[in-house]
């Protein structure tokens, strides 16, 4: 299918779920790209994974009682995030063990809950792998609104979030409330995951959070640039992924993740300074490209 056919399908009123799915996928990729930047830089991909699993019982409960899925997922995810933050204050257990305990428990609870719904195998698959059909109109506003709130909070607390990532000890000494900022960041991750779960599914949502930010990190040494690149890579991959999956009738979530992975591999090979190819360049070329790197005044220090 050519891109033009895809565009025609997008504006075809009989396929109104398609532009909705595209919009939600792009919006959630943008939000996940920005939040994923913090996650990748803090080296806490595990938290993303935990939260992704933890929203599952919330989605299941909402599904069984026919409530709002986004709301149900948010409550469960935030609850788990706060529990992890609280329990990880105890230095005897590392964060990842705490997460291991809670997210598997949450996931198990979700499976038990959803098994109570009639015909649950189908809905289980939908939760785990995502679906582009059956998204209610109101979710466009829920996802858009939540996304804006997430980005606003990250923007307002950016300075502090960077400070606690750079050096927690120093941040504490400056009177920065490290514990509360941890909770805020966990909650932001949860919300980003929840709004993305629907199209891409519970298991694959981690890729939306981590892969664009990781690819962006390979491409730049500037935080600002990374925070712009990650959402761009995510959104472009969502668009391409949806197009490919629609054309060849492939599962949407899986296709988006594969496109993201391809983008990451490209960045890994072609990154301007640290990519595989750049490192193979002859040394003289590398030196010519960055004369400041060898400023004699600071050599040897």
């Amino acid at each position: 299918m050519s891109p033009i056919d895809f565009f025609l399908d997008l504006i075809n009123p009989d396929l109104s779920f398609l532009p909705k799915a595209l919009l939600i996928a792009v919006m959630s990729s943008i939000v996940c790209g920005v939040i994923g930047t913090y996650v990748v830089l803090r080296g806490m991909a595990f938290i993303g994974d935990a939260v992704a699993h933890a929203v599952f019982p919330g989605l299941a409960v909402a599904f069984v009682i026919s409530g709002n899925l986004v709301l149900g997922g948010t409550i469960a995810g935030v609850l788990t995030a706060v529990l992890v933050a609280l329990f990880s204050q105890n230095r005897r257990l590392k964060e990842d063990s705490i997460i291991g305990v809670f997210f598997v428990a949450a996931f198990a609870l979700g499976i038990v809950v959803i098994s109570q719904a009639p015909g649950y195998a189908g809905s289980l698959q939908q939760f785990l792998f995502g679906s582009i059909t059956g998204i209610p109109d109101e979710d466009l506003f829920v996802v858009g609104g939540t996304g804006l709130v997430i980005l606003l909070v990250a923007f307002l607390l950016h300075k502090e979030l960077v400070a606690i990532t750079l050096d927690r000890e120093m941040a504490r000494s400056m009177g920065v409330k490290v514990f509360w900022l941890d909770i805020v960041l966990y909650v932001l991750v949860t919300l980003a995951v929840v709004i993305s779960v629907q199209t891409i599914g519970n298991i694959l949502v981690l890729a939306l959070l981590i892969t664009p930010a990781a690819a962006a990190r390979l491409l730049t040494d500037r935080l600002g640039v990374m925070m712009l690149l990650a959402p761009v890579i995510g959104a472009a991959s969502a668009l391409v992924g949806l197009y490919v999956s629609w054309s060849w009738d492939l599962p949407t979530g899986g296709t988006i993740v594969l496109v993201l992975t391809a983008a990451f591999l490209l960045a890994w090979v072609f990154a301007p300074r640290h990519g595989v190819l750049a490192r193979r360049r002859p040394r003289s070329a590398a030196r010519a490209a960055s004369p400041a790197a060898n400023a004699p005044a600071f050599a040897g220090q």
């Binding site: 830089l41 307002l156 607390l157 300075k159 502090e160 960077v162 400070a163 990532t165 750079l166 050096d167 927690r168 000890e169 120093m170 941040a171 504490r172 000494s173 400056m174 009177g175 920065v176 990190r217 730049t220 040494d221 500037r222 935080l223 990374m226 400041a292 790197a293 400023a295 005044a297 600071f298 040897g300 220090q301």
Partner: protein
Amino acid sequence: MRVEGVAVELGGRLVLDDVHLQVARGELVGLIGPNGAGKTTLLRSILGLVPTVAGRVLINGQPTRAGRNNVGYVPQRHEFAWDFPISVEDVVMSGRTGALGLFRRPKQADWAAVGDALDRVRMNDLRQRPVGELSGGQRQRVLVARALALQPSTLLLDEPFTGLDMPTQELLSELFMSLARDDRAVLMTTHDLASALYSCDRLALLNRTVVAAGRPDELTEAQVWMDCFGVGETSPLLRILELAR
């Protein structure tokens, strides 16, 4: 800066007991002691980061409180995420995070403070450089500049020389001496006895409490050093001390 009879309990053990220490403005004081002596803990209690079970810490006459006491802190270099994509000047600005407060962006005056701090450690040429591409000595200078960005009257340095070669150490201790001379109280922990004896105005030997304190030429008695470090009289430590004099 005054520490008056401070005691600290960690994990049910008394890590610091009845510690008295004074650092006046204009003075560079070296805090010396074996591993686990409580040096870092003392710095943290001066910052107000660990609760004390007895005693108090006064900064410019005020009881200490985290983030409210105008103390510059230079933690050990490995506490910092050096792989973070951030430039030298932004790291130095991050030292003003607490002073700026929530939701505030840096203004002209903040950038001026950052510029002064970078000048002070002679890192202004590299202000745009990503921190991951700096050498150990340059990194240490960035951390000092980050502490200076707060324009503190008291400066605490935790093992600033670890992993650095001699020329770099000398350069840094000159910097610390000149920072002290510019009317700051500077307290630094170190395991480098030779350079501490050479550059510090006073030394405090710490092992759970201050075993001895005084000018380097006053601390000549071998017994004091043997007590503090728990070594015998054949220890190379004592040889080093003699050589350094």
